[in-house]
């Protein structure tokens, strides 16, 4: 799972059946100081997150299928949590 920030919303009227009834959000992964930023991606929202929220994203198909309760869902990234706070003891 990765930590990211929701930076955008995507509206798709025509979309695959598995993507209906949930929103698609643009997520930018968080980085360590001086680190190289990971590429942004689109994730299906399962938590009612919005722009500016720090979120926990599952980026793996099997986990996504379990979250969506659909064994054939063609979804990779699903937002599974909204982060309240983080504690990091050491940053190298």
């Amino acid at each position: 799972m990765v930590l990211g920030k929701v930076v955008g919303t995507v509206v798709t009227t025509i979309s695959h059946q598995d993507y209906k009834k949930r929103r698609l959000l643009v997520v930018q992964p968080l980085t360590l100081p001086g680190g190289v930023a990971d590429e942004d991606f689109i994730a299906l929202d399962n938590t009612q997150a919005g722009i500016g929220d720090t979120v926990l994203v599952n980026r793996e198909g099997n986990g996504a299928r379990q979250v969506l309760n659909n064994p054939d869902a063609c979804v990779i990234s699903v937002i599974v949590g909204i982060v309240d706070s983080l504690y990091i003891s050491d940053i190298d």
Partner: protein
């Protein structure tokens, strides 16, 4: 999942039998600001996208799962949505760097 812009169509006369009838489109993967990422790729289309459309695409095994009938096909990029509206905040709006110690986000 990622953005892509449809640039053209690909036609294959000879292809894997379960892919017959599947529309193949040439797409340019894009980042959140719609800047090109890498080279052109070919994606299977199941939402009837057209040239010039901005799309949502899915990669890897999940691309094959997006197929309507046979889900065990050699497909690794599929178009699963056509974007009508997109709102993305500029890069400077948020801080993407993690900090040492406690950080409250809400």
């Amino acid at each position: 999942m990622l953005f892509g812009r449809v640039k053209g169509t690909a036609v294959c006369t000879i292809k894997y039998q379960d892919l017959e009838g599947v529309k193949l489109l040439v797409v340019q993967p894009l980042d959140k600001h719609l800047k090109p990422l890498g080279t052109l790729q070919v994606a299977a289309d199941i939402v009837h996208a057209g040239v010039g459309d901005l799309c949502v695409m899915v990669r890897s095994r999940e691309a094959a799962l997006a197929m309507t009938d046979v889900k065990f096909v050699p497909i690794d990029l599929a178009i699963v949505g056509i974007v009508d509206e997109l709102e993305v905040r500029p890069d400077g709006d948020f801080d993407f760097v993690l900090k040492k110690g406690w950080t409250a986000y809400t």
